[in-house]
């Protein structure tokens, strides 16, 4: 017979304050957490596994892009903007060039506009591929990452053939494009379109009806349209909540009004709808690519802008639909060769603010899913 266990020292009647289920816990996620897509630190206030509140700590990647802009000429600052959202560098460059062109009252020639649209739409697809791969990886599906990055390679090859760079392309200049398309550019884009559409079906086969994927994403991180607008959330996140708003349609820039495409929207505003919206957006991008590549006009690719860019005194805000949302530039010119003030309105920064509202009441594992679905790039959040 064994001795009865002595429990007198345990004092079971008084509540132990250090006991996990009896207190709130503060947990640090990041800045070096693989699911934060860079150096995002989220301080989570937890009750057991449930999230009570969050606070984002950002700025680890702050490089002072806006200050750099004030100390460079308009032309010299152009490559810097590629380093903000580095998975969609082409879009950043397009927004910047267009804003300066607006200040100069210049407009890129039609051929340059078509080249710009083709490259920007390719860039949108590649950005969404990075999102898909990493988002699925965060949730535990490893295959989509390999598929997405394998197919993204074809886009990067086109970029490389066009301007020599794969990621930070610096493809556009103020006034148009600097490079004429290479021989076989149109064929490459067409080939990519026919190659990519079946691949998109493959992604969907892996995920759309996948039981684990659906369970992990349905009703997770729901945002209603009112919250989206109050929080300034744009891009696929806004559209997944049912707001049919895309700057390419609402305030068309470049030659987007020439193309026939749709704005995919969601219904529930949850992570699953955002997934569907982005997948549908890739299909629409392919549609734009197919139309643009058929109709690409001949002619000059550079407007007659001065070598030394000195916009007249004034200020302009211009924004484009970047893969992540509304990317705006507010530039104040004092008539000199350097901008007096460059303000970047980054979609990732503004969208990330919605994280707190989206994850309250969810589980820790869902935070990972929500960060993924917001599709942030810390280079752009921190600038």
């Amino acid at each position: 017979m064994s001795q009865p266990i002595d429990t007198s020292y345990l004092d079971l009647d008084t509540k132990d304050e250090t006991f996990l289920d009896s207190t709130e816990m503060v947990l640090n996620m990041g800045p070096q957490h693989p699911s934060t897509h860079g150096v995002l630190r989220v301080i989570l206030k937890l009750d057991g596994e449930k999230v009570l509140g969050t606070e984002c700590v950002i700025g680890y990647l702050h490089r002072g892009v806006e200050k750099i802009g004030e100390n460079r000429t308009y032309t010299m600052f152009n490559p810097y903007v590629d380093r903000m959202d580095y998975v969609a560098a082409v879009s950043n460059g397009l927004g910047y060039c267009e804003t300066v062109e607006k200040l100069l009252s210049a407009e890129a020639p039609p051929r340059a506009q078509y080249i710009r649209v083709i490259l920007t739409e390719l860039c949108r697809i590649s950005s969404h591929q990075v999102w898909l791969g990493t988002h699925a990886l965060d949730i535990g599906a490893i295959t989509p990452l390999f598929y997405a990055f394998r197919d993204r390679e074809e886009i990067l090859k086109i970029f490389e053939k066009y301007c020599g760079a794969r990621l930070t392309t610096h493809a556009f200049r103020i006034g148009g494009c600097i490079y004429e398309t290479y021989d076989g550019f149109e064929q490459d884009v067409k080939k990519f379109c026919t190659f990519f559409l079946p691949k998109l079906d493959e992604y969907e086969e892996l995920l759309t009806t996948n039981r684990i994927w659906v369970t992990r994403t349905k009703n997770v991180g729901v945002l209603n349209p009112e919250d989206c607008i109050a929080l300034g959330v744009t891009g696929p996140v806004l559209r997944a909540s049912g707001v049919k708003w895309d700057l390419r349609k609402a305030q068309p820039y470049e030659c987007y009004k020439d193309f026939d495409f749709e704005i995919p929207t969601g219904v529930n505003g949850d992570t699953y709808d955002r997934y569907l919206v982005r997948i549908a957006e890739m299909r629409q991008s392919v549609r734009i690519l197919q139309q643009a590549v058929e109709a690409i006009p001949t002619g000059p690719i550079m407007a007659k802008v001065p070598k030394v860019i000195k916009p007249p005194v004034g200020e302009v805000y211009h924004s484009i639909e970047a893969p992540k949302g509304e990317l705006g530039y507010f530039i104040v010119s004092d008539g000199s060769t350097q901008p007096y003030r460059v303000r970047v309105r980054p979609p990732s920064f503004v969208n990330l603010q919605a994280l707190d509202k989206m994850v309250r009441g969810l589980l820790v594992a869902d935070v990972v899913a929500v960060i993924g679905t917001l599709d942030i790039v810390l280079g752009e959040v921190d600038r």
Binding site: H62, G232, P306, G314, Y317, G328, F330, R343, V350, Q353
Partner: protein
């Protein structure tokens, strides 16, 4: 600043050809060297010979611009478009209620903006959202003009989903003056105002948690002010942490 813009009203945008701006620029600007006008005139037939380009209203203006920028001696300032008064029902309504509180309503390059007195800013912002339909606050930022008495321009970029319209509300504040926070009007203002505080040191009254956002809490100064020395931080850091003079 837009009101400082000199020069004739958008000479560059005349669609007749490059000759017109060259001629009008010559008497208007005595410092323009003969080389300038000669080059502009030379450029004119070139532009006219290409009908495809001359047909575009902006293309005709462009040959004059590089010519004006070329001579190194007195760089003739390219005369640009000037802000014109912006009149609309919205402006009339606001003027009726606030009178001189609406300091300016201008349109520049097709973009409209209002400059309002600082005291009525929160009312205007709320009204813009509730009654005028500007439900989406795109951006809040500031611009620093150290030489002015009211050193800062606060800029609110607004967009209306129902009207598909964009406008900007601006106000001028002195250094050290507080601005009422817009967080109660648009939630998105939270981080945007924190950034403006971080970069410019502008304090927002009524903000739920005004602290630095991009820079570390112990950072000194506000980098986007024009008087912020970009080498100062570096020198100080080297001095404190390495104990030597910075080579910068």
């Amino acid at each position: 600043m837009p009101e400082e813009t000199k020069g004739p009203d958008s000479v560059l945008r005349q669609p007749e050809g490059a000759k017109a701006p060259a001629e009008s620029a010559a008497p208007g600007k005595p410092p323009a060297t003969p080389a300038t006008s000669a080059e502009s005139v030379k450029a004119a037939p070139a532009a006219q010979s290409k009908p495809a380009e001359a047909a575009k209203p902006t293309a005709a203006a462009k040959p004059a611009a590089p010519a004006a920028a070329k001579p190194p001696a007195p760089p003739a300032k390219p005369a640009g478009p000037v802000p014109e008064p912006w009149e609309s029902e919205l402006v009339t309504r606001l003027r009726q209620q606030y009178g001189s509180g609406i300091e300016e309503s201008l349109r520049y390059l097709g973009q409209t903006y209002l400059t309002v007195d600082q005291s009525i800013l929160p009312e205007i912002l709320r009204r813009m959202r509730d009654e005028e339909g500007f439900d989406y606050c795109v951006d809040i930022t500031a611009v620093h003009y150290p030489k002015r008495e009211q050193q800062f321009d606060m800029v609110y970029v607004l967009y209306s989903f129902p009207k598909n319209e964009r406008t900007r509300v601006k106000t001028r504040i002195k250094d050290g003056e507080h601005v009422p926070s817009a967080v109660a009007i648009w939630e998105t203002a939270n981080w945007l105002e924190r950034e403006a505080f971080d970069m410019f040191g502008i304090v927002f009254d009524g903000h739920p948690g005004l602290k630095r956002i991009l820079l570390p809490d112990e950072w000194k100064g506000h980098p986007l002010r024009k008087d912020y020395d970009i080498l100062q931080q570096d020198r100080e850091w080297v001095q404190i942490n390495l104990g030597i003079e910075s080579g910068q």
